[in-house]
Homo-oligomer: 384 residues x 4
C-alpha cells in the first residue's frame, strides 16, 4: 500500500485543495477501499457555499466539518479488511473479501439509540455521522470520504456489493436513486380511494437535476400515469423526458400562476396527485403545494440543508388542501440493492449513465467543484 | 305546521338578528326537522368576524353567504318526509320516519364528480355546499341551518338516527367528534417501526377547546400513552384532563422555547410522536412542528378558515424533521355512527356533556354569539 | 331500432343457444348499446360447467340464472339514453351522448346499504347484481349481457367512456385488468421494512391465462424486480414473458417440491415476496403459500366461484409463515379509467391485444364457448 | 454466587425433573439474572405434549430441545454484567447495572441476515434461537430459561428495564401482551373506508385464556366498539369481561352455526369486522373465518406450533370473503416498553394480575406443569 493518499480536501467554505494525506490504518470493523468513482452531491455544493447545517433543530443536528475529504456517493474496491469482519460489513451478512467492489450508505448510525431501535429503515440516529461530511482530514483516519485515491470506511458502516457486470457510473448513482424511497412511502399511503401515490396518478417533479431525473424514473417504475417536470433548463428537462417525463414546463417561460394553470389543465382542473420537490429552494415548497390537488400528496426532499424561510398560508396550503405531506432528508439503508437491481434491469429503458455529465481527475478538484454549479451540469464525478 | 319559523340570522359579519322566516316547503329528497339543539361552531365565529373564505385556493372554494341561518351541529326530529324517501336519506339506507331524531353531516355533495367518485369517506366534492353556511335565508327554503325552530334538510344530505337513550347534548357533539378521524388516519400510517400514531405514543393537543378535548378523548381511545394539552385557559385544560390529558401546559406561564423543552423532557429528549393543532392560529402551526419529534406526525386541523400566513423553515420544520403532515378541513361521513356509539359506550369515562358550557334560547341569538368568544367558554348551543 | 336482437343465451349448464330476443325498452337511468365486442370470462365458463355459486357464504350470495345472456367484458356504443341522464351514468359525471363508445363495471350496487356506504372502491353491496350473470333473458329487458347485437345497461350501472383512439380489443380487456387492483392494495401494505409489495420485489404469478398475464403486466408496472410465472402451457407462458415475466416454470416439467426449490433458489433461499393465485384451483392455494417467503404477501384472486376444499396446515401455511393474505373476488369501479389510460400509454411495451386469441360471430356461440376451454386459448370474444 | 442452580428441566416430552445445574459463567455480551418470576406459556405446554416443531416449513424451522430449562416470560434481577456491556444489552442503549430488574424478548437474532436487516420489528431471523426452548441444559451455560433460581441471558439478547413500581406479576406478562401487536398492524391496515381494524369496530376473540384476555384488553385500548369473546369456560370469559369483553359465547352452549348467527345478529347481519384466533386449534381457524364479515380482517395468532390440518374452502373462506388475513407466530421487540407502560397506566382499569391464577415453587415443577392444563387455569408462574 502507498504511504500517501491523494485527496480533494475542502478546507473551508469556498476553499478546495488537493492534498497528500497519510494512508489510513485498518482497524476492526473498518474497510480500506481503492476508489473507482465518487460523485459531487448537492450537499457538498451547499457546504462549499457555507450553508452547512444539517438536520437543523433536531437532536441529530450536525455541522459539516472543515477540513474534510468530501464524497459519499462512492464506488471502490476492497483492499484491506480484517479476516474476522468477513461477514460483518456487507449489509445483510454476505461474505466480503479483498477485490470486491462496493458502494455504501454514507450514514453511520450507533445501532443502539431509541431511533436506531425504533425507526429501522431510515438512519435517524441521534448520533449519526456521515461519510464525506463529518470526519476531519487532519486527524486519523484522514480519508473518510470518496474524493481520494483510497478511503477508510469506518466501523459500523454498511457497504453493498456491486454486481460484476455493473459499470462504476451506474453504481455511483445508487445513493441518489435510493432517496426516491419516499415515493415508495407514498405508495404505502395509497388507497383505492384516491390517496397517496396511486396507480396511473399524475406526478409533478420540481427540478430536473440528477435527483429530479431519478424521481421521474422511480415514478414511472411505480406506475405513474403522467409525469410533469419543472425546471429552468430545457437541456435537463430533455433528459428528464428520456427518463419518462411526459411534459416539461420551463419556469423561465411561464409565470407561477400559469404553471399552476397548465398543471390543472392537464388534470381535469384538479391539480397533481403527487408532487415531489427536488429543486432545493424554499420558494419551490409553496409553489409545489399550489400544484397539488385537494387530498394530494406532497414530498419535500430538496431541502437537505437550511435554505431559509418562506411564508405559508396554513389554511390554504395545508388544511383546506387536505394535503398529505412527507418531509425527507434521507435514504433508507434497505434501498441500495433494490436500486442497483433495478438500474441494471432497466438500463436500456432509462439512460442512467447520462446523468453523469462530467468526470474529473482528483488533481482538478477545484475545477470540478466550480463546474458542478454550471446550470447545464447534472452529476460530476471524480475518477482518481 | 306553523306558518313562520323563528330563526337566528347572521345578516352580515358582526350582525345577528332574530327573524321570523317562512316555514319551508317539503320537496322530494328533503326533510323538515323540528330542532332540539344546534351548536355554535368555530366556523360560525370566524364568519361573525368576517373571516369567511372556506377551502381557499381549491376548486371547492366557497364564501359564507349573508344573510343565512347558521347552525350545522344539529339535532332535530323529523316532522316531514316524503314517503318515497323512507330509505333514501339515512346514511346507509335504514328506514326513516316522522318522529325519528337525527343528526347530520353538514356537507352536501353532488355524488357524481371526480372527488365524489374517487375520495369516498371525505366530502371533497368540487360543488360542496354546507348546511348552516351556504344557503341564503331570504330565498326558499329559507331555514337551511339549525339555529331555528324548524329547519329544512336539503336533498342529497345524509342524516344519522340518534339512539333513543342518547341525550341531545351528546348527539349535538357528534360532528366535532368526527373531525378527530384524522387520528384514525394517523393510525393507518402507524408502523411497528415508530411511524404514524402508534400504540403508547405521546400525543400533544394544541388547544383545549371543544375540538381539543375531543381530540384528547380520541387519542386516549386509540391507545395514546401520554397526552399533553396546551392552552391559555387552566379551566379548559382541567376539563381536558378529565378527558384524558396527563399533562397541561399553559402558554401564559412559559415561553415557546420552554414549552418545547418541557415536551422534550417528557419524551426522553425526542419530542412528541404525534401533535394535533386545534388552536386555529397560523403561529400554532410552526410551534407545533417544533414539538414534533424527528419522523413524527403532525395533524393540522385548526385552520378551517383563512388565518393568514406564517414563516416556515422548509429544511428545519419539514425536511430535516422528516415529518408526516396531515392537513384537514373536514370530517368523514362514515364517522357519525362510530362517534355516537363510542360517546354512548364511554359516557361515564369521558365527560362529553361538560363540553356544553352554555345554552341559549333563539331569542338571545346575539348574546349567545358574543358569549361564545368568552375565553372560558367551550361549546354554546341553541335550544329553541 | 330493430325489433329483434340476436343473442347468445345460456339456457342451462352446458347449453348454449343463439336466440332472437325482443329489443329492450329504454327507461330512466338506463342505456341501450350497440355492441362492438364482448369477452368470455372464466366465470362464464364456470357457469357453463354448472359451478355457479358466487360469493358463497356471504350475505351477497348469488346464483347465476338460466336462461341468461352472458357477457360482462363489454364494449358498445350508446344508441339510446334519456336526455335527463346525460350526466348520470358515466362514472364521474361526464357528459354521455348517443354515439359514445363505453365499457362498464358489471356490478350494479344499491348505493345505500352498509357496504355501499362504508366500503367504497369495491362493489361489496349486499344486493349486488351483475350484468351478464343475474338477469333472465325470458323477461324484460331481456338482453342484460354483452353476447348480443344490442344490450340494455340497467339503471345504477356505471359506464366509462372509451378514448377515441383505443381499439375495441383493448377496451374489452379493461375489466380483467382492473382485477389486478389487489396488487395496488399490496402496495398500500408495503413498508420500507420488507412487507407487502415493495420496490424490486420478486412476484410469482400462478397461471398464465389472460388474468395471469394482466397480473404480470401490473406487477411490472408497479416496480417488481423479478417476475416468475407458473402454468402448464409453454405457449401461454411465452406470452407472459412478453408481458414481463422473467422466468417461466411449467408444472408438467417439475414437481411441487422442485417448483418450491426453484423459487427459493431465485430468492436467496427465502421464497417469493408476493404470490398471486390466478389459476383458479383450490390446490394452487396451498402450493402458492409454499412459494411465499416468511412475512410475504399472498393474493388469492383465482377462486371467483366455488372450487372445493383443500387441506391447510394453519401453523405452517399461515401462522409460522407470518403471511399477509388478501382474498379477492372483485374489481374496484375506481380502476377503469386508470386501466384504460395505462393500456393505451404502454400498448407498445405490453402486447395486450395478443390476449385475444379468438374472435367469434354470435352465430357461433356454442363453438366459441367450447373453444374457450382449449388449453392454448386465452381470451375469446364475440364480435356481433 | 452459589455453585449450583435449582432448575425445572424438561428432559423429554411429558418428563419434568427438578435438577441442580452448574452456575453459569458470565461472558461478554451476556447477563446473569437472579429470577423473580417465570411463566408457563402455551409453547411450553405444547412441548410437554411433544408437539414441538416451531416455524414449520420456514427456513427458521426449529425443534425444541430436550433436556432444557424452559421459561421465556421472565422477570429477574441483574447479578452479573461485564462493565463494557453497560450500554449494550438494554434494548435501546440505556445503562444497565447490577440490581436492575429486567424482562426480555426471548428471541435471539443474528442481526446480520436478510430478515434481520429487512424485517425489523419482528424477529424473523433465519438463525433465530429462543430463550427457554433452544438451549440444552446439559451443556454450558446450562440455565438459559427462567424456570430456575438464576438464569444466563445469552449474548445478543435484548432486555428491558422494569419500572421500579411495577410488580413482578405485571412484568412477567409483558411478552404475551406484546403478541397483540398484530392488532396494531390491523390498525395500520385500517381505512376510513371500512377496512382493517377501524374505530368502533366489532372484534371477536376466539379463546379466553391469558392470550385471549390480552387481546381483549388491547382491542379495547385501540378503540374497539363491541368485543365478543368465545371459549368453553365461563370462568375465563367472566375474566375476559373484566378486560372489556361485552359479550361472551360459550361453545358448549351453542353450535357452530348458532355462534355464527349470534355474531351476525350483533352486527346487523354482516359478521365481525375483526376476528383474532388465540384458541390454538386448527378447527378454530375456519370457524373464525365464518365469523368474519365480507372485507373483514382475520388474525391467526394461536397456532404457534403445528396443530395439524383443516379443510378450507378457498372460494368461500378466502376469495369470496375478500378477507385480509394476518398470520402471526411472534412478537415485535419494539413492543415491550409500550406494553409495560400501558399495563402500568391502566392497571386499575384492566385486572392484569388476575391472569396469574397459580404460583408454584420450583420444587413443584411437575405439578405446576400438570396444573397448567387445567381448563380453569390461566397463567401459571414459577417463583423461585
Amino acid at each position: 500500500m502507498p504511504e500517501k493518499v491523494k485527496a480533494v480536501v475542502m478546507t473551508a467554505p469556498g476553499e478546495i485543495e488537493v492534498q497528500e494525506l497519510p494512508y489510513p490504518k485498518l482497524e476492526r470493523g473498518a474497510l480500506i477501499l481503492q476508489m473507482q468513482m465518487s460523485g459531487i452531491c448537492g450537499t457538498d455544493k451547499h457546504a462549499y457555499k457555507g450553508e452547512k447545517v444539517l438536520y437543523g433543530g433536531t437532536e441529530a443536528e450536525q455541522e459539516i466539518v472543515y477540513p474534510t475529504v468530501h464524497g459519499h456517493e462512492n464506488v471502490g474496491t476492497v483492499v484491506e479488511i480484517c479476516p474476522e469482519d468477513k461477514y460483518l460489513i456487507e449489509y445483510h451478512g454476505q461474505e466480503l473479501n479483498v477485490g470486491d467492489r462496493v458502494t455504501m450508505c454514507p450514514n453511520i448510525i450507533c445501532g443502539h439509540c431509541w431511533y436506531c431501535r425504533h425507526i429501522f429503515a431510515y438512519p435517524f440516529c441521534a448520533k449519526n455521522t456521515t461519510i464525506g461530511l463529518s470526519f476531519p482530514s487532519n486527524k486519523p483516519p484522514y480519508v473518510v470520504g470518496g474524493w481520494a485515491e483510497y478511503m477508510f470506511v469506518p466501523p459500523r458502516s454498511w457497504v453493498y456489493k456491486v454486481p460484476e457486470e455493473m459499470p462504476d457510473e451506474l453504481a455511483s448513482l445508487t445513493e441518489i436513486f435510493v432517496v426516491s424511497a419516499t415515493l415508495d412511502r407514498a405508495k404505502e399511503f395509497s388507497r383505492l380511494e384516491a390517496r397517496g401515490f396511486g396507480f396511473a396518478d399524475t406526478v409533478v417533479v420540481q427540478g430536473a437535476g440528477a435527483m429530479g431525473c431519478m424521481h421521474v424514473a422511480k415514478a414511472k417504475m411505480l406506475g405513474a400515469g403522467q409525469i410533469i417536470v419543472i425546471d429552468e433548463s430545457d437541456q435537463k428537462m430533455n433528459l428528464a423526458k428520456e427518463f419518462g417525463a411526459d411534459v416539461a414546463i420551463n419556469v423561465k417561460d411561464v409565470s407561477h400562476q400559469e404553471r399552476v394553470k397548465i398543471i390543472k389543465d392537464l388534470t381535469e382542473g384538479r391539480g397533481a396527485d403527487v408532487v415531489v420537490e427536488t429543486a432545493g429552494t424554499a420558494r419551490a415548497f409553496v409553489e409545489g403545494l399550489d400544484y397539488t390537488r385537494r387530498g394530494g400528496t406532497y414530498i419535500e426532499t430538496g431541502s437537505f440543508v437550511d435554505t431559509g424561510e418562506v411564508a405559508v398560508n396554513v389554511h390554504r396550503h395545508i388544511a383546506a388542501k387536505n394535503v398529505l405531506l412527507i418531509g425527507n432528508s434521507n435514504h433508507p439503508h434497505t434501498g441500495y440493492y433494490q436500486a442497483m437491481h433495478m438500474m441494471m434491469k432497466y438500463r436500456k429503458e432509462y439512460p442512467f449513465e447520462k446523468l453523469i455529465t462530467h468526470k474529473f481527475h482528483l488533481d482538478d478538484g477545484k475545477e470540478a467543484m466550480e463546474r458542478s454549479f454550471d446550470p447545464e451540469c447534472l452529476k460530476v464525478v471524480f475518477v482518481p
